[in-house]
Amino acid sequence: MLVGDIGRAALFLSMFVVPYVFLASTFGVVTKNKRLQASAKAAVVLQFVLVAIASGALIELLVSLNFHYTYVAEYTSRGLEMLYRIAAFWGGDAGSLLFWLLIMSVYLLVVRFTTHEGSEQMHPIVTAIMAFVMTFFAVIINRVANPFDTLPYTPLNGNGLNALLQNPGMTVHPVNLYLGYIGFLIPFAYAMAALILKRTDATWLRVTRRWTLISWLFLSCGIIYGAHWSYEELGWGGYWSWDPIENAALMPWLAATAFLHSAMIQERKGMLKAWNVILISLTFLLTLFGTALTRGGMLWSIHSFSNGPMGTLFMSFVGMMLIFSTVIIVWRFSYLKADAKFEAIVSKETGFLLNNVLFIGALFAVFWGTVFPLVTEAVTGTQMMVSAPFYDTVVLPIGVVLILLMAIGPVVAWRCSSLENLGKSLLPPAIVALIIVMVIFFLGYRNPLSLASYFAASFVVWTILSEFWRGVNARMRMTSETAVISLIRMIGKNRRRYGGYIVHLAVIVMVIGFASTGGYSQQVTINLRPGASVAIGDYVLLYHGLQTSQKSGKVVLSAEMVVYTAQGNSLGVLQPAVEFYDNGQSPSSDMALYSTPWTDLYIVLDGTDNQTGQALFEVHLNPLVSFIWAGGYLYIVGTFVSLWPEKRRQDKAKRQVIKNAI
């Protein structure tokens, strides 16, 4: 009981300490009271310690399976692996909210104790805004979903973690999503602080660039790992279903990606100030909106947590933050005038602007598709779901145009580019891309959207690689270094630019995966008797029969399938299975996968007849799925290259060179 009491007491106190951080920071700024601000700073540390104690206590209760606590009894059970006992911390509503508060406390601690040139005045306001948001979470956890609530009795066993959540993805996907979602609070708070202080120059963007990139990276990883998890666990052969909650993660990603691009224009030219503030506010609001959707049970989704009052509370908070940010932006709108104007149609600035229009167009389409069931419910009384064809029709063409922009962007100069130079740079990649697509077409792959994607992807790859090539050549001419050394040093000295190009290449690798699975996946649903076989692509599957085995807390019914090549060579045995749980949870399908870099053979056991041994199989042959996951890793590498700090002395040296040139 002691551990639980410590956790509950720490959590209870945090409900008073966080508002104190908000009030002390706010009045410290207003009255310019140093002691009050110092006390607020101490409260930030105290808040972190209290939430860390509460989190540690909850983890201890979960690990020791203390079923006297409702949360432990609901999300763990005897026999649950240690990894999933810990993961149960964020597996349920109350625990995940505490996990949010913990991440926010860590972020606030880091923000409050790091200094950046020119942002000192912003710190107390940023702290106040972050503390205000945290107050909402602290109150919700204490008053609505307390993970330290106890049962009047102690059950012998718990319900156990949902079978679908018992996957290594549970340790990666939610954590990444939370880190990403919550991270956007920081640039939002800085944007609001900058407006309040009338400091609408690019300082807040420079200070928050790394925070934005880190949050964006976490959110991206969360989405990619989520897709991977869905592919391996849900057994429907796909990785993205346009589920409302998947969309809830995609929407802030779209807004944040637009923001990352438009922020560069403000940093370089002092333009799009209002737009950037609006975009980061939108990103933050969409993370809250996504949380409201996940927790509200307003829309059906496999990801939903509950149907309690949480959705209403979160939606009210979204409304409150929307009003707050709108009032601040309108109040300071006169300070958001651009320092310069667009000078030419053919320029990097115009490219970024078009990029933003497309991202926001895609965002609007996804938003409309996501909230449409709520709108129809409000008007007609029944929810009308929007399915994949809507998104495929609207969002995918926008995606193809965005990819084409990735090809044009790198070859266009800032301010103005000549059409002649642009033509010279773009014509060779366009011809190469066209030849590649024609070859693919004549090989018999003729899905129009996939072909358009292959064209755009080839175009981008060629353009980016030639950009690397031209850069290396220019450097080799000036320094007489070898090509490899030039490449490494060129990337090292322009990490932001070349990190961005690597991310673009990663996106292209993923797009090739999306286009291939979207256009050329094959599927067979077949009922087989033992000894019968089925052919798909270059594989032949021979069904041997069913097997039953008893595992910890479940009975596993598996089918044995031997995989052969078309030439008759054995590749091994696959065992798609259905798992039946002792605690009465719905059975779950455990698909079998034979994966190569080029194809995934994916088998799902859909039904069985234990008397005859017949089994119903769903067999998928998905081409180039591995490209999606490989692209994800390259994406992480590219973002790290962009994130890696450049040496200060290099900046100084650069200034000196330019000064000397003057």
């Binding site: 720490a10 209870f12 002691r35 120059d201 800032w414 330019i658």
Partner: protein, 113 residues
Amino acid sequence: MQYNVTLLIFAVISLAILAWPFMFSRHNRISPYSVSDEVITVLGQKDMTYAQLADLEYDRQMGKVSEQSYRAVRGELLSTLSQVDKAEQTVRDHIAQQVEQELQCLRANEVTR
């Protein structure tokens, strides 16, 4: 009972931490000599102009701008840079003047005492 005792201990420690700056911090007013907004704005403009110059050089080396555009834009950026330099100097002079005035006031107060 156990919970109430734990809560009480935590509450007392928390209050002590929060009250610490009020009891032991000597100076209450925030120093007015933080980096001025004007300096930050000017340095921001300077950074922006340097970044534009660096981009222009890069675009030229990569053959993305014509020689004519390069010269025109470079001239414009250098002129902006010299204006920013002048503005920076003015701001710095102004700050130095303010500091000098404050010092004189402080010295005068010392003498009066």
